[in-house]
Symmetry: C2
Subunit: 489 residues, 2 copies
Amino acid sequence: MTSSVAAQFEGQESRILRDLNEPLVDHAEGQLFLNDAFKIIMEEVLCKGTDIKQKVCEWKEPEELSLLLDLELRATGEPRERLLQRVKDVAKYSIKTSHPRFFNQLFAGVDYHALAGRFLTEALNTNLYTYEVAPVFVLMENEVLRGMRQLVGWTEGDGIFCPGGSVSNMYAMNLARYQLLPDVKRQGLFGLPRLNVFTSSESHYSVKKAAAFLGIGTDNKAVHGRFVHDRLVSQGAVPFLVSCTCGTTVRGAFDPLDLIADVCEKHKLWMHVDAAWGGSVLFSKQHAHLMQGVNRANSVAWNPHKMLATGLQCSALLLQDTMNLLRNCHSANATYLFQQDKFYDVKFDVGDKSVQCSRKVDCLKFWLMWKAVGSNGFADRVDKAYLVDQIKKREGFCLLQEPDFVNICFWFIPPSLRGKEGNADYQDRLAKVAPVIKERMMKQGTMMVGYQPLGNKVNFFRLVVFSPVLSQKDMDFVIDEIERLGNDL
Amino acid sequence: MTSSVAAQFEGQESRILRDLNEPLVDHAEGQLFLNDAFKIIMEEVLCKGTDIKQKVCEWKEPEELSLLLDLELRATGEPRERLLQRVKDVAKYSIKTSHPRFFNQLFAGVDYHALAGRFLTEALNTNLYTYEVAPVFVLMENEVLRGMRQLVGWTEGDGIFCPGGSVSNMYAMNLARYQLLPDVKRQGLFGLPRLNVFTSSESHYSVKKAAAFLGIGTDNKAVHGRFVHDRLVSQGAVPFLVSCTCGTTVRGAFDPLDLIADVCEKHKLWMHVDAAWGGSVLFSKQHAHLMQGVNRANSVAWNPHKMLATGLQCSALLLQDTMNLLRNCHSANATYLFQQDKFYDVKFDVGDKSVQCSRKVDCLKFWLMWKAVGSNGFADRVDKAYLVDQIKKREGFCLLQEPDFVNICFWFIPPSLRGKEGNADYQDRLAKVAPVIKERMMKQGTMMVGYQPLGNKVNFFRLVVFSPVLSQKDMDFVIDEIERLGNDL
């Protein structure tokens, strides 16, 4: 479809050479385009995209969508009107994640203050590594991390924003390893006894990915079950990290942190809390108890882009450490970037704390939103957990368990399966219900809810109820709609 | 400064409880705010921020800036006018990286089509892991990667956008390791012979960071110098990767790829090309020869956010592999996200190729810009390399070397040092010149140019000339201004 390499160069000789003494960008023309694109974004994404009378998705098979979008990249540019149409098309066929009927992931909804912060971040286009190119954001990130650490219960500490919770979890694993065995940074893991990571069977898959990426190996991730006791004693390997979960991905369950902290203290293990999903409960007087004991952890990963709807990505790794562990572990002391003879205090050059070089500014959206709604406003968002009474009352809806928090996991039992629990093929048939309902809802574009199996439980729906754009009638709709879509199954 | 943890909860009981049956977000009010914020962004960042009559930076010491911005996060929210003022303040004190006088990093300038793509990306707020939540972007990323691979010279292959070039380089290192020793994914590096990475002394520091992070150790990064021959033969360790550089960070130098490819073929080593900076020359008929032999590499890292000004972040890892190495190496097969019983072809769920879970959409800005200017337009940007004649002609300016490409490295020799090359303290005094000029330019806000030492060369300026907003008079200004700021030294 796309032209060949040779064709990419076509016309480079024949076209009229621009005068290289003049800029290639016309600011007035560019700003006019941006202005028009902004209007389309407002209309298509933010007005229609949040309107319950509009579809949440416009399902197309990959082949058809590819053709509709005319994705091919060519040698010559396109006129302005065509480009604006492209902005419209991208919006049209994209999922409306801010729509009140989008429950598919652990992010949803929109906050306009955060979005303004994101536009500003994009326009300023800077890099969070030195004070000289990001003075405002070095200080702002520091302040936001401080506010988050205070909610954890730490008056001091360190931290950094990472490109997602998986990377935050990786950082924790690397820091735990470095604290125990600082020579690994220089010498690697060769010739060392096996290291062991402990985590629960429902911990996020990023713990497994981190073990593979860091050279520790997925086999050296031991599962400790939800309740950790002295069983951590290992078989010839060296345990160095317990990764707890606050808000598991599917069930939204919280590990008992105080209990785990006791074990970690006894065995001198690094205690990491993956609170990517659950961390935001710390804003709420009503729910903060779910993370009782988090102040005893060494590190906490917390993604405000999930429950607080700051927008992707916004993921912080918080550390209790005050001894510069993060910088010592990750630094490479590049002389072209982190010169020591600068005219300002180079402790504000935070880039060497990261394993990235270019690092996006992820704090501004959260900071502006925090300024706009205050800690109290965040508490409101967290407390906006709808009751599950309706699901309990409705025939054909069966809760997997009483939810710990906002993840509501349930099966829809179609009429043909009701009362047939004893049949040999019951589980197999039930497993096929959610995928069919999901297909139907997406093809009709009425809503998006996720499903998955878990352990020996066959496919069930996970309804995640936290988006600030939700109202009670959206919840009523979900129940009615699942029934409508699945009643004939 | 920030209130205590207890104070964070203050008022949560006393304030009037919102009706949780209603949304917490008022769309009309929010859109009005966003609209006003957009106007401020237009005026402060895009109009004033690119105007040579305005400062490129508004230097403040950290303590003063902290006070000016009132960064503290509080329990209650702020009124709309105050928030809009904050948007203005953040813009005011941030560095204007799109300003024609910003030469401080390997990114600069603005492209309005790319910026429109970035705003659209932010508004759509989705996650590039499954086709069901990112149908447009799964296909678009695929097409953009294909276009980039074609320029490398591959008709097939694989790839992924990563959060920056450092992560792309890490991925390459992990893939090389996995190809040689697939069991490392499960078993880790324990008990294996040392692995060795080969790279040049001027390669980017991320190669070192990657070796540390992946458990290989920085001592196992061997320096091969710019010209690799059979010296790769290692001392008891297992070589598995040669990381070449196309466009070194400071000098902009290009490794001789064909020569290195011969060695890699002979020794069966993975050949990675870190073309984060230089990769964009592939668009240019005039400059593509600098990367002659890149088609023989196993992997290429290329950041369009640098020379092409797509905006941060836009970093692709390209692979010649067609055997699903990326997915096999990184996958964890999470059943809650990558269900195999979906109603569409799950090969379009690309998330398991990544070690991230949440992954930002980085392709749209590049795609929209490519559509707008075409491959030819990108060639124009790459070819817009100003001549260094002026620097050669001007007294007191001394080139470090004839530049390979757009990095122009030079010393400014103030009058007091001219003709004193033989003095014992010459190098020490010269080393102090650039930092002082840098301090003066930033405090006056007239421009930003980076400096650094390299090997035994003391501090010199690096002028990077590629931004699409530049004109010849901006270049004239730079030379005059350095002279003005440094003539008394």
